[in-house]
Amino acid sequence: MTSILLNALQYLGYILIFPGFLFCFVCGMLLCGIDRKLVARMQKRVGPPILQPFYDFFKLCGKETIIPDAASRTTFLAAPLVGLAALVVIQLFVPIHGFSAFYGMADVIVILYLLLIPALASILGAAASGSPYAGIGLSREMVTIISCELPLVLILLAIAKTVGNALGTGLCFSLSAIADYQLVHGSLITKARMIPAAIAMLLVIPGETGNHPFDAAEAETEICEGMLAEYSGGPLAVFKLSHAVKMLTLTSLFVALFLGGVGTGITAVDGVVVFILCVIVTAVSISFVHAVTARLKIEQIFKYYWTVVSGLALVSLVLAWYGL
């Protein structure tokens, strides 16, 4: 009885503290702050303090939450919470150097689909707000999701094939197995055939998180923050937090898929190591791309992802398929 209780407590701890909610909150926000700082420095600015996202979050918590007359209240309020919870759950499945809180419960294809839920939550929240700006925003967000889907699918299939070939099972969808494989054989990024896929993944991350220059869905200067046009106060804070957590999730997914095998085996230390790797990935894929580009139009985003990025991923997939 007590062991069941302890187990339950342990899992609750996983969900609430590490690598769940609290970890996501702190690390995601830090990542977001570091990203803003880095972008500022690349633009020769001082930039906001690293803790700025925390200030933003708490300030928004203290603001009034206005629900417009045209909005569908329940969906409007519930959408951000569902999106955040779904993101936290994805983070639970991403292994941290061999440690995964919930082993063998979801594989890469499932993760691909789970990533749709937060996006879908924000889309439905935007739809429920009734604003035409949000309508345009959600249309763009959906197109961005479609754009990112093809390269992401190709990348994941390439990884599944590569790891599966090496393990002799033919294909391997399990995230934990991919992580374990890298513990033994070294990071996937060291394999020449996976480098195009890794580059493609780096380019997919800002699209998935909706960062500059792929932020047509939330373009604050053109369509008044797009999907978030009617959100204020607490729900907006949760959306901003979701965005930060999404950055953490995707970068740590990149770390788990391509940079696995770096770590010590002590979970606490690995958490820090993974976070540092996440910061590096963020610096390269989010901050750097942000600093050197201007916002793309939505049809450009689509074209870019389905030609350049998908092409890179396809190269990897074909190389992996023929075992080159």
Binding site: F58, K59, G62, C224
Partner: protein
Amino acid sequence: MFKKLIEESTAKSPWLFHINSGSCNGCDIELVAILTPRYDVERLGFKLAGSPRQADIVVVTGPITKQSLPRVLRSISQVPEPRCIVTMGSCPQSGNVFKGSYSVAGPLSKYVHVDVDIAGCAPKPEAIIDGLALATQILKEKRGQM
């Protein structure tokens, strides 16, 4: 504890919403200038918001023409509390050289309570930073009274 935290955060993360009510663009350019690398108010937590729902400080420029008056007032009313209204440049404070024109409905203080006036035509970016810093303090006080 959280109340204190929220108050502190309110002062450190004011988001601006800019309304141009018939301005000559001088002030608008100066407002953008404070976001440039040279002045970079993002280091103080300022950010331009795209929608009044997300703003804390409303910056109004221009002499409040009759056409823009209902739109300005509607946008201001859509900003959630606590909010702070800042007029920038001489126009929204008095009408400046447009004073007495048939198409000018200003000054803004006739319609809403204005918290901070930043004088200048157009104000120097440093002056804007001064004024906005003052506005954040007012914002913090308002948050404390909520």
